[in-house]
Amino acid sequence: MGSSGFLRIKGLRKGYDGIEALRGIDLSLQKGEFLSLFGPNGAGKTTLIRIISTLLKPGSGSVRVMDFDIEEHAEEFRAQLGVISHQSFLYNDLSARENLEFYAALYRVNDPVGKTGELLRLVGLHDREDSQVSGFSRGMQQRLSIARALINDPSLLLLDEPYTGLDEHASILLSGHLRQLHSRQRTIVMVTHDLKRGLESATKVGILSKGRLVYLKERSEVDTDEFEHVYLRYLKGAPVE
């Protein structure tokens, strides 16, 4: 890995139907950094996550992870990637265990059965491992979705509004997992509306507004009250000095 960053985004632009969702994003993260990205609805947060995860092609610009272009080395990159979204990516007609074993096999995990059992215990679903996902509550599905995203022990974890629909217990559980991953030098990018959760573990915070990264600072340089004030002004669409 070069000294220039684990994740490097340069001049990233993306448009849909004549609307520019991203207008030139430049961003660099070192290995082990945790970026929380905030922004109003329609700011381009999900588009950014979908481009980094290779689900969407960039209009222009580049995304490099560990010094390789993610478009050119998509399969190798995805083997190192975990994504948690407000969508679970889980099959309703399969059990919790079957879902995880399926993904473990796709990621060529050594000992998929053992890894599945370990993750089910981690997210507290080992007693429901043979239940079909269709019978799970939203919080249980999200917990299983966390296990799914961790099945390949990813180097880069992307989270798109992961707290949506979670109860307090599941939110605390997710925050705990994220802190644990961060302590193991995993690089994390999370987009969220949840200021409290977003700020508690981040090492860097940013605000995306109208397709531009308008704010990016080290967490240690940010005063929580001041950040809240700045963020609320962007939410209201008012100019920020």
Binding site: L55, E75, R78, V83, S88, D93, L94, Y107, R148
Partner: protein, 223 residues
């Protein structure tokens, strides 16, 4: 190929658990045979070409029902994103989905064809080995093109309406050839007289396999 097999196994497990596609395919095919039998006149003998037309209408219309489900089930909880985010090549997903469609067609035909013999005369059953050859090659062409078109329409809100509208113009030559060849088989016309049509069916399957295999990535991913 390993990844394709994993997806096939997962799809078959889901289907055998729910029996959503297969039951509707078989039931619809059976229903069409009954309706057409009543329309023609119960017990009335039909010639080979008409019998072939009836058989293929039942098979193709029932197959379209299953076709839409195989990819649209991946849209639930955005499971398709889960597949696309894994290190699996899009071509493996296409191969798996085509194979699943092919398997569903074979299973549905295993019920529809014997019912067809019961309704329209067991004299056609004498030609079962050649009929199986024709059916398998038509299945190949249908499932390769059908999987590509079901991927195109799976993301739309009216996919069950859009799929046949887009698919039928493309597969009409395949269906016409299938009827022609099957009719010739039922009429006991010598093989050399219809072999060129059979070769076109085979070519259709292989050409569209290649084209669809290459195009699938662009269809399944957002631009």
């Amino acid at each position: 190929m390993r990844d394709a097999l994993l997806i096939i196994r997962k799809d078959l497990l889901t289907e055998f658990r729910k029996k959503e596609s297969l039951v509707s395919m078989v039931f619809f095919g059976f229903l069409l045979l009954v309706i057409l039998n009543i329309a023609i006149g119960i017990g009335r003998e039909v010639d080979g070409e008409i019998a072939a037309g009836i058989l293929w209408v039942s098979i193709i219309f029932s197959a379209v029902l299953g076709l839409g489900r195989v990819l649209s089930q991946e849209k639930e909880n955005r499971c398709i994103d889960g597949l696309l985010l894994s290190p699996v090549e899009s071509e493996q997903i296409y191969t798996a989905k085509t194979a699943v469609n092919f398997i569903f067609m074979v299973i549905a035909e295993a019920v529809i064809i014997p019912v067809f013999f019961v309704f329209y005369g067991d004299r056609f059953a004498r030609h079962l080995p050649m009929l199986i050859v024709v059916v398998l090659f038509v299945n190949l062409g249908f499932s390769t093109v059908g999987t590509l078109f079901s991927a195109i329409t799976a993301g739309t809100r009216r996919n069950e309406v859009l799929l046949p509208l887009l698919l039928f113009p493309v597969i009409t030559p395949l269906i016409a050839l299938a009827v022609k060849v099957t009719g010739s088989v039922f009429e006991e016309i010598p093989y050399r007289e219809y072999s060129s049509w059979l070769y076109i069916i085979v070519s259709f399957g292989f050409i569209f396999s290649g084209v669809s295999y290459l195009l699938f990535e662009y269809v399944i991913k957002e631009g």
